[in-house]
C-alpha cells in the first residue's frame, strides 16, 4: 500500500504510469461511451409516462454520480496534500476540479432540459438542485483559488482546506431528496432492495455510469500528465522521456 503511494508520488513514475494508463483505458472509455449512448438512445424501451424524454437520464445521472464521487477524490487528494505534503496530490486536486465542474454543469443543464417538459419549469430552488449548484461553485472556487496564489504550496493548502470543508455538501446532495420536500424525485437506483427503474433501462444506465467513471479517470490522469509536462519541462528525466516518445513516433 505505502509502496504504491510512494511510487504515485514520484513524478517520473507517474508520468510513465499515466502514459500506459491512457493508452489502455482511453479506448475502453470511448467504446463504453459509444455503446452506452447507443444502448440508451436506441435499444432501451421508452418510459410509460415520459416517452422518450426520459432518455436524458443516460447522461444526467452518470454525470451527477461522477461529479459527486469526483469531489471525494479531490478532497482525498487535498487531505494527502495537507498532511503528507505530497506534490502529486496537489497536482491531482488541481486536475480533478475542472473535470468535476464540467460534470456538475452537465448534470445541471441536462436536468433543466428534462425539467421543462416534465415538471413544467427549467429551474426550481429545491434542496437537490440548490445543493448541486453549490457543488459547481465549490469546484469553480477550487479552480479560482489555485490561480489566485503565486506560491503553489500556499495555493494547494488553501484549496485542500476548501475541498475538505466542501465534503459536507456531498451527503447533503445525496440525501436532500429524502430529508426535505423537494421537486426532484428520490433515487431510482437502490443499493438495497429492488430498484425503481426497470432492468431494461437500469443496465444501460449502469454501463453509462461505468463509462463516465472511466472517462473521468482518463481526463484526470491526462490533466495530471499535462501539468507534469508544464512543471518539469526543464528536468532531465522529462526531456529523456519526451525524446523517447518522439523517437517512437
Amino acid at each position: 500500500m505505502w509502496s504504491i503511494i510512494h511510487k504515485m508520488g514520484s513524478p517520473p513514475w507517474f508520468y510513465r504510469f499515466a502514459g500506459s494508463f491512457l493508452k489502455w483505458l482511453l479506448p475502453i472509455a470511448i467504446v463504453a461511451l459509444i455503446v452506452g449512448a447507443f444502448w440508451g438512445l436506441f435499444i432501451a424501451p421508452p418510459d410509460f409516462r415520459q416517452g422518450n424524454s426520459y432518455r436524458i437520464i443516460f447522461i444526467h445521472v452518470p454525470a451527477a454520480v461522477v461529479a459527486l464521487a469526483g469531489y471525494y477524490v479531490m478532497a482525498f487528494a487535498g487531505l494527502m496534500s495537507l498532511v503528507w505534503k505530497i506534490k502529486m496530490a496537489d497536482t491531482a486536486m488541481r486536475a480533478v476540479a475542472p473535470v468535476g465542474a464540467a460534470l456538475t454543469f452537465i448534470a445541471l443543464v441536462t436536468g433543466a432540459i428534462w425539467g421543462k417538459p416534465t415538471w413544467g419549469t427549467w429551474w426550481v430552488w429545491d434542496a437537490r438542485i440548490t445543493s448541486m449548484l453549490i457543488l459547481l461553485f465549490l469546484y469553480l472556487g477550487v479552480i479560482a483559488l489555485f490561480e489566485a496564489y503565486e506560491n503553489k504550496a500556499a495555493a494547494a493548502k488553501a484549496c485542500a482546506v476548501l475541498s475538505l470543508v466542501g465534503t459536507v455538501n456531498i451527503p447533503i446532495i445525496y440525501k436532500s431528496v429524502d430529508w426535505w420536500y423537494s421537486l426532484h424525485q428520490p433515487a431510482s437506483i437502490k443499493f438495497s432492495g429492488e430498484s425503481a427503474i426497470d432492468s431494461s433501462m437500469l443496465y444501460p444506465l449502469l454501463l453509462n455510469i461505468a463509462a463516465f467513471y472511466l472517462t473521468f479517470a482518463c481526463a484526470v490522469v491526462f490533466n495530471m500528465r499535462t501539468e507534469l509536462i508544464d512543471s518539469y519541462r526543464r528536468s532531465a528525466w522529462l526531456q529523456t522521456e519526451l525524446k523517447q516518445e518522439l523517437a517512437k513516433g
Binding site: 418510459d47 410509460f48 437520464i57 413544467g120 419549469t121 470543508v165 426535505w180 421537486l183 428520490p186 425503481a196
Partner: protein, 155 residues
Amino acid sequence: MHPRRKQRLVIALAIVVFSSAAIGLVSYALRGNINLFYPPADVAAGKAPTERTIRVGGMVVDGSIKRSTSDLTTTFQVTDYEATVTITYTGILPDLFAEGEGVVAAGILDENGILEASEVLAKHDENYMPPEVAAALEGKDLSGSAPKSYGKGGL
C-alpha cells in the same frame, strides 16, 4: 506516523468534523425554509402562512379534477393521505399532470383554505419502466390497491 503529520491529520479531520457540524446545525435550523413545499397536513394545521405565496405539494386525488368549460381554469384536490387542499389554477398544466400523480402548486391561500395557484408543477416519481411493464402491472391492479408512498422523498 511522524508526529507533525499526525498533528496535521488531526487538524484536517477537525476541519471536516466542525464544518460539517456547523452546516448540519444551520440546515437543521433552516429546515422549514429548505423544504420546497408544505404538505396538505401542514396547511390544514394552520402551519402554512396565508398572506404570501406558498407552495403546496401532494398527490392529485382521483376523480377530483374539474375543468371549466369556458376557460382554462382547473380545480383539483391534493392530498398527503392525512389532509386535502383544494387548488384552482388557470393556465396550461404540465403534460405529466394527472390524477394519482404528484404536483407542487405555488399560490396564495384564500379565506376558505383554497389555494389560488399561479404555477403548477408536476412532480415526477422515481419509477421508470417500459409501457408493457406498466400495462402488466395495471392488469394486476397493483397500482390502485395501495396508496403510493408519500412524504419526504416519497411523494
